[in-house]
């Protein structure tokens, strides 16, 4: 955790200097490339060490019950697979994003997203993924995957997403 944090510092400082508007888009930790980026799908899924393989074949999402951040047995099973793959592919650093559905106030949902990301992170660590590779963030209800206002969409939006980024050299 500390190692990653330190590695980020010069990167962020550089951004602050180059963009007076704070427009920080599409960078390693930027907004636009983070959640479910279709660009990742273009990558070859047949390469078992690829980001695309992880997203499509292993699965990078875990779903949660309404207002809950505890992991169901199927969530744990999904994270077990993620953990195995992440251990085999140590070249990636990982950001776990927590999300909420739209049925909640904005700041509560942000806090709930943190809870969900933390649950996923703690489970991955318990399965042997190094905590030094992991970082969390929450988007609350700001980035729904599905946009209808019904439980079938909400169920998919209450999620954590395990996001891979290229290792920082």
């Amino acid at each position: 955790m500390r190692l990653i944090h330190l590695a980020f510092v010069p990167f962020l400082a550089l951004v602050a200097c180059t963009d007076p508007e704070g427009g920080f888009n599409g960078g390693l930790l930027g907004d636009s490339s983070s959640w479910d980026d279709p660009a990742a799908n273009a990558e070859d899924q047949s390469d078992p060490t690829s980001q695309a393989f992880f997203e499509k074949k292993i699965g990078n999402r875990v779903l949660f019950e309404i207002n809950k951040y505890t992991l169901s047995s199927s969530a744990k099973a999904g994270l077990d697979e993620q953990a195995r793959w992440l251990i085999d592919n140590p070249q990636y650093v990982i950001i776990i994003e927590g999300h909420a559905d739209e049925q909640g106030t904005r700041e509560y949902n942000l806090a709930l997203g943190f809870r969900r990301a933390q649950s996923a992170q703690e489970y991955l660590v318990s399965r042997g993924v190094s905590g030094l590779r992991l970082k969390t963030r929450s988007y609350g209800k700001e980035r729904p995957l599905e946009i209808c206002s019904a439980e079938r969409c909400y169920a998919k939006n209450r999620r954590s997403v395990t996001l891979l980024t290229a290792g920082l050299s």
Partner: protein
């Protein structure tokens, strides 16, 4: 003659022929049904040709502000008997009584070659046949037409209701664009009536829940500028911003100013858990206020700066809690059926506004600070995030529509629950924060 400086506008109270302060013309704002008070705003007299268009604009804006408050009803000009020509001539009360006008506003408008605008106005209690308070003179730049109109309307509102003014105020909010799953958000500021929108940030990073300081000069908000939510402080006049140092290993969000703008309360996430912290802005030192295993967020100061109200799910669901700023055990104040969030203390200190979720709906409501006398003022698929007008009479909030194209817009409602109005901004908007009446 008494000269009062109001920043860009100078206001002169000048002694009219009749002084009748606190005359019989009065609206008592209570919970009962009220009959709007009727008023007439005959076209303001233009003292020079160049002022004609401005005189028309100001008189219509004054009428619009009063009408939109829900407390006044305009008598339209086509019913007027008296055809006033000059501001100086005496009011013919019988002509106004005959068409049931209770309040009359007359004014003159003058512009100078140097771009100076001067508005003189008087307010009359028609049925008593007296002038209500003293005449007033406003002067400022011809760029300040709307503000002058709001100041005139504020005077009418204040003298007749006995409540503080609120028309000449600004609101910071989040302006939204783009599809629901890739929404772009940027901070913006506008006049209380939705005019004069100006952007304070770009839309490349998600920004959330801005809160304006009580002096109207600064804004606290949460931004994903670093890729992670963090708290920023923005100066409105320069749009310059800086990130506040909350913690090295956590994420800050949900900030709000103390009444003197010297401190902030906020939530800090560490290890998945969110607690309330207090930061002194001068030293950037933070002090932890809550340490529960639950989500503690959305803190708001009492107007005397001594207490905070916040939401916590420590009981199992979101509820509202009070605690002294000096520390102590939080005391739960919400007990009705439902989940309570986003508490905001009224500037008058008498009420706390909140968002309530129950039976699959979201409501904006108010309660006393002991949780008593709860009243719901609105309800829909998703109403959220109340903010108080500077006089504590009106609440603005965001209402989001349902479905794939669902988007938020801003609404206001009187604290009596009457006069629910949508603010038409032409683009989705959320997270309003109402600033002070401008100097």
């Amino acid at each position: 003659m008494r000269l009062i400086y109001f920043g860009v506008l100078a206001i002169v109270l000048w002694t009219g022929a009749v002084l009748a302060q606190n005359g019989p013309l009065k609206i008592e704002i209570t919970d009962g049904v009220i009959e709007p008070l009727t008023f007439a705003v005959p076209m303001f007299e233009a003292k020079n040709i160049e002022a004609a268009a401005i005189a028309t604009k100001i008189s219509r804006l004054v009428a619009k502000d009063l009408t939109n408050s829900g407390l006044f009803r305009e008598i339209s000009a086509n019913r007027f008997i008296a055809q006033r020509t000059t501001f100086a001539e005496a009011v013919r009360y019988p002509d106004w009584r005959a068409i049931n006008t209770q309040a009359l506003v007359t004014a003159s408008v003058e512009t100078s070659s140097t771009g100076r605008l001067t508005v003189k106005f008087r307010i009359f209690d028609v049925f008593s046949g007296v002038q209500l308070g003293r005449g007033m003179q406003l002067s400022g730049s011809t760029q300040a037409v709307r503000r002058m109109a709001h100041k005139v309307a504020d005077q009418v509102y204040e003298r007749i209701t006995g409540e503080g003014p609120y028309f000449d105020s600004k609101i910071v909010f989040v302006s939204e664009s783009g599809p629901k799953d890739k929404r772009l958000k940027r901070l913006a500021i506008m006049d209380f009536d939705g005019e004069n929108v100006q952007f304070l940030t770009g839309n490349k990073n998600i920004v959330l829940a801005p809160r304006i300081s009580k002096d109207g000069k600064k804004v606290l908000y949460t931004s994903f500028e670093t890729g992670f939510p963090q708290i920023y402080l923005l100066d409105i006049s320069t749009a310059g911003r800086k990130r506040l140092p909350t913690s090295d290993d956590g994420m800050g969000f949900s900030p709000r100013f103390s009444p003197d703008s010297k401190r902030i309360v906020y939530s800090l996430e560490q290890g998945g858990n969110s607690d309330i912290y207090l930061m002194d802005l001068a030293t950037a030192r933070s002090k932890r206020m809550t340490s529960s295993l639950a989500i503690d967020t959305a803190p708001s100061f009492s107007p005397d700066g001594r207490q905070i109200v916040f939401e916590s799910d420590r009981s199992g669901t979101q509820q509202l809690y009070l605690m002294p700023v000096s520390g102590g055990t939080p005391k739960r104040i919400s007990f009705e059926n439902g989940r309570y969030g986003t508490p905001v203390w009224s500037p008058r200190g008498d009420l706390i506004a909140f968002t309530k979720q129950s039976n699959g709906r979201f409501n904006i409501g108010v309660m006393r600070d002991d949780g008593s006398e709860e009243r719901l003022l609105s309800g829909s698929f998703l109403d959220e995030g109340p903010t108080w007008s500077p006089n504590g009479r009106v609440i603005m909030f965001a209402r989001q529509t349902q479905g794939p194209k669902g988007a938020p817009s801003l609404y206001s409602v009187d604290i009596t629950g009457r006069n629910l109005r949508a603010l038409n901004l032409g683009a989705p908007a959320s997270d309003p924060s109402w600033g002070p009446v401008q100097p």
